[in-house]
């Protein structure tokens, strides 16, 4: 289940980005959303989960953004936040939506912060806000949809996961 969700989301990130306009409200962050979906399948094996987050981030860096470890670190940090959130809230379709919002906001803040620290961009509140709100709709829809699909498959094939 975990590799399938990750690979599909990773490839969909690229395919969907070919179809949407630059000024769109539907920026895909499907790989990030996949990190929320896959966590319960690690059955509290956090070290393995963090390893997967790091590797996914590094692949994202190499294939999509030509940076070295930026997304590796960001995805690792988001992975940590997801583990904390899973301690507070249970896993259901509404809660994965809430987790998605938290992850997108933190991811955007961190990515923007890193670019500001390294003087790769100039500070502009509007750019930051736009990047957040333009990522919410599509990704929340995606995370809920994938949650429902994986939930049904897990029940059908009795794949164990923590709730």
């Amino acid at each position: 289940m975990v590799p399938a969700v990750l690979i599909i989301s990773f490839i969909l990130d690229s395919i969907v980005s070919n179809f949407i306009s630059l000024d769109s409200l539907f920026f895909p962050l499907f790989t990030l959303m996949a990190l929320i979906i896959i966590y319960p399948y690690f059955n509290n094996n956090r070290q393995k989960y963090f390893g997967v987050c790091l590797v996914t981030g590094i692949c994202y860096d190499l294939i999509y953004s030509n940076t070295i470890i930026i997304h590796g670190m960001l995805f690792l940090l988001i992975g940590f936040i997801i583990t904390r959130l899973n301690l507070i809230i249970s896993n259901n379709s509404i809660n994965v939506g809430i987790m998605a919002i938290v992850c997108i906001v933190i991811y955007r803040f961190l990515a923007y912060g890193l670019l500001l620290i390294t003087a790769s961009t100039s500070f502009e509140w509007f750019s930051l806000l736009k990047s957040i709100y333009s990522s919410l709709i599509l990704n929340i829809f995606y995370v809920i949809l994938i949650y429902i699909i994986t939930d049904k498959i897990s029940r059908k094939f009795k794949i164990h996961r923590t709730n």
């Binding site: 490839i11 690229s14 395919i15 980005s17 070919n18 179809f19 949407i20 306009s21 630059l22 000024d23 920026f27 962050l29 692949c59 190499l62 294939i63 999509y64 953004s65 030509n66 940076t67 070295i68 470890i69 930026i70 955007r108 990515a111 923007y112 890193l114 670019l115 620290i117 390294t118 790769s120 961009t121 100039s122 750019s127 736009k130 990047s131 333009s134 990522s135």
Partner: protein, 282 residues
Amino acid sequence: MYKKKEFEKRYLLIIAVVVIAILLVVLSVALKKDRDLSAPEKFIKDCGTFIIDIVSTPVNFIKEQIRESEDKNNVYEKYKELKEKEESYDSLQAENDNLKAEVEKLKKSLELNTVLSDSIFTNATVVNRNIDYWYDEITIDKGSKSGITKGMAVVNNSGLLGQITSVSNYYSTVKLLANENMSDKISVKISVGDQYVYGLISQYSSKNNTYTVEGISENIDIPKGAEVVTTGMGDTFPSGLLVGHVKRVTTDNFDLSKVAIVESSVDFDDIDYVSVLKRKDS
């Protein structure tokens, strides 16, 4: 005991400062724009992009079919438009041939090997696009094996698109001019009758698909719709690449120079095929 705690505090502070400094250095290197990809990076990028390329093929085929059917609906309008263009084609062709011959003569008389507009084309297809907010880039299916190098200009049939920023063996990444944090200012000239007015592109607005051209000091009235092309100054772009057309002209905050808002000739939302330009002197 107290001294030991004091020592530990200092020790921790020094470690924290060193770690933060190292982290900042690593981040600066990681985000460096003119960084060359290492051999493992090139290999992973090539493999990953190849897989994405294969998986995207059916989706791209469907996209192509949809576009074709849309084009078929507009056949009559396109025919009328082409017919109008055809009438002026012969005279333009003659003028073009004449100008080419004149440039060659002038090059010979001045003993110049190349001029700023000389360039060689390589065609490529867009494999994927990363519009993660701050990295507005596309990946094309030509790399160093096809003679692509970093810094080459990328155009499509509508005009200038961007610049090659990183190259692997079989794929290259193009940074689009649509990147709102475009840090490298591009030198452009605006055609006003027989004269040219020079300026620098400083900003792009994705909302309006417009560039802001600053630093226009000449006191000449710039008409709406004037053509904006690259000057060829600097190492980046050859001369004469269409950037867009003037939409409106204002003045800067101090009323010292003019600022032109230029509508991009390229639709950045719809890029499938591109040409990479190599300057003959590069």
